[in-house]
Symmetry: C2
Subunit: 245 residues, 2 copies
């Protein structure tokens, strides 16, 4: 296995950081990887806002759902899907920006952010840094937009905490390969594989929590997804100019 | 610069392939990287369908907008956002799957696919393979769904062509760093940076096409985005059970 594969397969989320700063050389290497990532139609729909200011970072830690590691780590990178530059491009050419009236802008924006953020993660981890992605950036998105002065046609997709790991964390088991990788057509025969994984995850949780917790995968997922857990995303998208249909 | 950063910053899309196959060891290494990627709430919303069958691949090449490299390269990986497993998880726990009634499922699905696909790209390139992402998977999504027997609560986000490069391609210049990377708040003063990049891209296009083509970035972007260029995504999402609001 080459070094690149080793870094990626060794990924784990870090929720405890030392106070050692992340330097500009490291942040620039992360941004080189972010910008090198492919983007749909070369649209380059990704914007990264780097927050180091302790007061702002503390506020963000609250907004994303009281996640202490956002406050503790030296750097918070907010990854946004960005059509504000596309709006400027349209203006420069006397055209209208219509794509933000379609769910296509949400899909392209979110998937391009994912591609870029993944490069940021791999870049950070290749330099010995730790990270944790923060989907909670969608918990109070309007407040985040105001705090960071984010313009129309831009929306926060996820945050990324970057710092020096204080504690290593365990590698979480994944769904069996056959449940996510299909050949020539989708194989719907998945229930048995999910039940097998549920057992494995319950064992993993029990081991990690000294027997306190034994929630399995399908319990976790179904408990999140029986509701719309970030209901403020829709009004935020409306306000930012995404009239998606 | 370490080897991991080198692979990512050297990324380019390959549109010409030899007929050498991609072997199972390589595909498994790609899938190891895909599955190691972080996912929102550990939901593991990503499904990869691997197509090697020449008849199916030829059909896909047409459906995504007559992209010859899909037919030419040995492997096409379709990356889907998948809530079908979440539906099974809900059933196993007597819960309802409600998240697919929200745009949250589109954002989470698309960004998780992006994160995973980026790992697939980096894994492939680290082994000397070439790739090109295929957003055209959203051009005729319903036909693709039928061809690959994709169930409800799953939608195609993008394809990935994988093979051995026949021709190296050039590194495409990117927007200036200051246009995508902001400190402590969004900086809206972007027009000058975009104009500077437009000039650079026009020069790059002229050089690559022997003077035949000089389209700049804002011309390309505004010409794509003055319309909804994949209008079949919305009815496909409805049909797949995404009643997003």
């Amino acid at each position: 296995m080459n070094d690149v594969l080793k870094v990626m397969t060794n990924h784990r989320s870090i929720r405890s950081y030392t106070n050692e700063p992340v330097n500009d050389e490291q942040l620039n290497a992360i941004m080189d990887a972010v910008q090198a990532a492919p983007t749909s139609i070369n649209g380059q729909h990704v914007t990264v806002i780097c927050v180091k200011d302790p007061v702002k970072k503390k506020k963000i830690a609250e907004l994303v759902g009281n996640q202490a590691w956002v406050d503790q780590a030296p750097v918070f990178l907010l990854f946004c899907a960005d059509f504000y530059r596309a709006k400027i491009a349209a203006e420069l050419n006397g055209e209208e920006l219509v794509i933000t009236d379609s769910v296509e802008s949400i899909i392209v924006g979110a998937s391009d952010v994912g591609i870029a953020m993944s490069n940021a993660i791999t870049a950070a981890e290749s330099m010995g840094l730790g990270i944790v992605p923060i989907g909670g950036a969608r918990r109070n998105p309007q407040e985040l937009i105001e705090l960071l002065d984010i313009p129309e046609y831009v929306f926060p997709v996820a945050g990324l905490v970057v710092g020096h790991p204080a504690d290593p964390s365990a590698l979480k088991p994944r769904l069996p390969r056959e449940a996510v990788y299909h050949h020539e057509a989708y194989n719907r025969d998945l229930r048995g594989l999910i039940e097998k994984y549920d057992k494995q995850m319950a064992d993993y949780m029990r081991e990690r929590t000294g027997g306190q917790e034994s929630r399995n995968w399908s319990q976790t997922v179904s408990s999140f997804y029986k509701q719309i857990y970030y209901p403020k995303v829709r009004p935020m998208l409306d306000k930012q100019g995404f009239d998606y249909k």
